[in-house]
Symmetry: C2
């Protein structure tokens, strides 16, 4: 008769094992990651599994109650001392007696830790780079005068299979003390570095050490976000964020590169600043989670290329001009102590690979999270900052590019623009009849046309328009017919509404009559057009490369994605036409990707492979980019229809233009009548 | 027809290669180490070889002048720019046309460096852990946005076969600058760590860097000796030595361990002291050799277990008592920067393995140098300090032990003993008729009975007796019949000579009537007997284990070996009987072993393997040790005949003792008459 068939969920891996095999051993042999710190002694409780009762038929497995060994002595002892949830078994103790479907829970919490409710709740299948290994070491023997460390290494080879283990230098003076403190029983933290194929002993604890943590950090040019997770349960223990202190050296990326070029100590100052901020975040998160930073053994970082370089202490000057040479594009593995991070002395750091000079490890992490390479649908992933990082593809092929959008979408280069902060207009609607606007302001709950608006302001005055507000006001102006598809403000409307005012040779739209008075000028519209044309042209170029004329899904990453309304982004033609239900803000996809790489080293290999395979398109070298750019100056776009968008909004009728006429010229001619009317 | 047969000397490796193969490529394929920095471009000149003309027949190879390609363009260019000795060829250029015997010279000196005449002249076949690799790197390309480091790694993989190269973190911020400085041509220093199986990029230089150095250092408890060698030519560039500054914390090893146990900061103080002294030695050697310490990329250290631990910052307390547990016995590979050594930032350190708690990396290095495991003769290797480290064996089996000799051989515990310094008696002869001594004093050339003695003294006064002097005076007293084989001073001789004086219940021998008056007391004799009995018993135990009753060769290592006369050591029965021609001082065998491990990583593997295979004998656990010890109290030994020694000196006739009588008791009884005669 065949050996019993064992199926592990959720991985779906299956195999046949002789009766009497422990479930843990079966998992090991199939490559199913089941945590175990104590090495099968039944003391750590990490290897809990559940038997899926009554669901066997659907997996083609028949089963009975007695297909798993009865509750054994080790399990009884563990359940007495710690809490073992009903239905849970210790896989190191439970042995196979017949066919089984085994559920490997991804949330084996052993310690009563505070778990953040607001952290990303995505459950990540675990296989961390750090493994906690309890061993009992032979005592010194004058007949066999092997060193204490050498006997520890032997035990780790014998019990855990680590041959040729390398040992962090700082541990050499500590080994003897820890072994004696633990009375020859210790827990070794082993870092399995697949890059080198070898394992390092990075930390050593007396007795059973049944917890270890890691951090995942997204270094944005504006904000730094950090999560602390348990490497053994996968749970997020604490999260913290702060603004990037490098802002004082330059608001956007290019001004920071300039600062480095102008100041001999600039690079070091910015490196020190960002590392210190990360150190503070770690402290804050440790306090919040009630853990010791000494217990943080692993860390994963992502960031755009310039943040990546500055964090690693690399001069980013080369990234400031063509050919935008990265110092290093592959993954970077270092010790935390080597880059001045105060975690456990042996803690390791992994930095995701960068895709190209303008498409960083953050884009790689977002790719890992959203997984265009794992799906059949054609997915577009966009993260907009000073440069837009664009990834497009599916399981057969992925392409990436960056496009120089400039900072207009962040409110810079806009006359009334400001950063997202209390007092900034973030939402706008314009009545297409009266041309009157109403808006919502950060920090004030009601809309501006709500009678409660003034009362709710609570001292907040309207000071400017932030990125999402700019996008909405321009899009609403277009939908209300105030601007043409060529982006020209229709001066003739001044006759209909006092909101349209002359401003030298062009017209402006008065969004708010206050102090300051907030107007949207023709130049503001041009700035948005230039930015969105760059973004769209980049996307279009990638669509050309992929030979597709539409995308199935769009993910909008980062702050940009979280705050703008996809509908307005599409009205402006920032992104290509797509079913609006399939356009989603993917939040901090980069941060989530960092967490995935932290909790599962398989994801590190996946993104390294993916990044190597991604085709990198340099927009500056593509002649068609310029054509796409010119066509994309129009709203939503001169050439592309937006059929999906048209189901949601009524786009102004498209006018036919002369073939060699650009949008702007045409607009100027068409509006001349209006302007003269006011002249 | 068969391909040409190529034989490389001195390794003797041979193989057949198609015509047109370069000699360098043939060497590579056979695993013959031929240095090449430029990778076959004919610019570094490191790959020089010679064709052994006229000696072919003896290797069974027929040859003609035209079996090697004529002098090529690369060789002509090199010979024009640099000096290429007549008969030398560049193996990267010369191709095989027929059978050849190739000589790989071990002294390819490219730079006109000062070479120390007094350094150990042993030629060590080279295969250093550090390889200098010149590469030309692709320039950045926006179409293929790989990082600069990634392109460098590709070039090193392509040209030099280093896949999955790991990179020292400190280089990340430097890569771009060096690549641009070298205009995309750089020399990479690669450390090939066989322990991990992987290679690390540890340093990077613009253009062709055609030199690299390493240091080999023996940390003795009394003196530290250091050599700087070229890793590319193998030549010793400079040597320096100094006394171990730890002496101020304790003269001998055990007092240093006590100091650590008594002083909380003791370990750190001693670690700092020894590392600082090594740093000073490096500076001194660099100045002497005219080299930059930045160019030192590798370092090998040896020392006894306590020196080993203190150097690595490990508390040696456990070595102070049973079970004498080493923190680490295996080889230690660290970065120089991790242990506070200021060499090149990426420099590596290799510390040889320790054999046992009292048999250190110095004994391992001496074993590597003298190679008992490489020969058929039974070889005994002895290094005497406070503990004697003893290695015995041949190619089939090697055993090792330490024996607690105490410091008597170093002049401590001896009434007139002192360290070897000007004023110390180091050689002694006693006239067996008159019982008058004559001696030689350190710092004074003539013997004491030479009329010139007083004049030559030049202000040096006779202050004591150093280790070698003690051994000689006791041995001469025995040969002159002043002491019996049981070590008792024959008081009856006081009648014959005023040199024999009563001293309480025993007698003394007056070696020098001066200020101070130097006498050899009965207690001094006892101290030497105890020390030599311990040493001999340890050796005997190992001979038992090996089941041999004689040894073919004896190597006396360290200062002990250099200063004592083997004949007197044998007269005292410190070492077993052996043909005196086969007893040799092996000088600083430990330092030479360190140099071997520096210049050839194959030797690292050899000594690691040998140390693992050495059978370690703990004398304290062996019941027979005590028996051997008791028998060895007698001079030369109660049980063993010394037939070889008897060919050189006339040993006093051996008296028959009662079977259950120990040497001391017997001596006392036998001398009673004499003592009573004077009473």
């Amino acid at each position: 008769m065949a050996d019993p068939l064992i199926l592990f969920m959720p991985s779906g891996k299956r195999g046949r094992f002789p009766e009497g095999t422990t479930v843990l051993e079966a998992a090991r042999q199939l490559g199913v990651y089941v945590e175990s710190v104590c090495g099968g002694r039944g003391t750590c409780g990490r290897c809990q599994i559940e038997v899926q009762e009554g669901q066997f038929a659907k997996h083609g497995i028949t089963s009975a109650d007695d297909h798993l060994s009865p509750f054994g002595a080790k399990e009884q002892r563990y359940a007495k001392v710690r809490d073992l949830k009903s239905g849970r078994r210790l896989s190191c103790s439970a042995t196979i007696l017949g066919d089984l479907v085994i559920d490997v829970p991804q949330d084996v919490a052993i310690n009563a830790q505070v778990v953040r409710k607001d952290a990303d709740t995505r459950v990540i299948e675990r296989n961390p780079a750090i493994q906690m290994c309890y061993v009992e070491v032979e005592e010194p023997d004058m007949h066999k005068p092997l060193g204490d460390l050498d006997r520890l290494k032997s035990a780790l080879a014998k019990d855990w299979g680590f041959e040729n283990l390398l040992v962090d230098t700082y541990l050499l003076p500590r080994v003897q003390k820890v072994l004696r403190e633990g009375q020859w029983a210790v827990t070794a933290a082993i870092h399995r570095d697949e890059e080198s194929g070898f394992a390092h002993l990075i930390a050593l604890y007396p007795g059973l050490k049944n917890e270890a943590y890691g951090i995942a950090c997204d270094i944005g040019s504006t904000t730094i976000a950090l999560h602390v997770s348990s490497l053994l349960s996968g749970r997020t223990i604490a999260s913290s964020g702060t603004s990037n202190p490098q802002i004082r050296f330059g608001e956007d990326l290019m001004s920071r590169v300039s600062y480095v070029m102008m100041n001999p100590e600039g690079r070091e100052a910015m490196t020190t600043a960002v590392r210190a901020a990360i150190g503070d975040l770690v402290d804050k998160a440790c306090t919040e989670g009630g853990i010791d930073r000494e217990d943080i053994l692993d860390a994963v970082f992502v960031g755009n290329p310039i943040m990546h370089h500055l964090f690693l202490g690399i001069d980013p000057t080369e990234l400031g001009g063509a050919p935008f040479a990265l110092a290093v594009s592959g993954p970077v593995s270092v010790k935390a102590s080597e880059i001045g991070l105060m975690l456990n002395t042996g803690a390791r750091v992994y930095v995701l690979p960068c895709i190209a000079g303008h498409v960083g490890a953050d884009a790689a992490a977002a790719t890992l999270t959203e997984g265009p390479h794992r799906q059949d649908e054609m997915m577009l992933l966009v993260d907009v900052g000073t440069n837009a990082e664009i990834v497009l593809g599916n399981s057969t092929r992925v392409v990436a590019a960056s496009s120089p959008t400039g900072p207009a979408f962040e409110g810079a280069e806009i006359s009334c623009g400001q950063r997202a902060a209390p007092g900034a207009i973030e939402r706008v609607r314009i009545d297409s009849e009266t041309l009157e606007p109403r808006f919502r302001v950060i920090g004030i709950e009601p809309w501006s046309d709500d009678p409660e608006f003034g009362k709710a302001a609570n001292g907040i005055s309207v000071t400017g328009v932030c990125g999402s507000g700019i996008i909405e006001v321009v899009a609403e102006m277009f939908l209300a017919g105030i601007i043409s598809e060529d982006g020209v403000i229709d001066g003739s409307l001044a006759a209909r509404s006092p909101r349209i005012v002359e401003n030298g040779r062009t017209f402006s739209y008065v969004l708010h009559e206050g102090s300051p008075r907030l107007t949207i000028t023709q130049n503001d519209i041009r700035a948005i057009q230039l930015a969105k044309a760059a973004l769209y042209a980049g996307i279009k170029l990638l669509m050309d490369k992929m030979n597709v004329d539409h995308v199935d899904r769009i993910g909008l990453a980062g702050a940009f994605g979280s705050f703008i309304d996809p509908k307005y982004a599409m009205v402006l033609g920032m992104i290509p036409d797509c079913d609006l239900d399939q356009v989603k803000a993917v939040g901090n996809a980069a941060g989530t990707g960092a967490r995935m790489a932290l909790l599962n080293r398989g994801y590190r290999r996946e993104i390294e492979r993916t990044v190597r395979e991604i085709e990198k398109i340099e927009t500056a070298l593509e002649p068609k980019f310029q054509d796409h750019f010119v066509a994309a100056m129009a709203l939503p776009n001169k050439e592309d229809p937006f059929p999906q968008l048209a189901k949601t909004v009524t786009l102004p009728e498209r006018k036919t233009l002369a073939a060699n006429d650009d949008g702007r010229g045409g607009g100027r001619r068409r509006r001349e009548g209006g302007r003269r009317a006011r002249g």
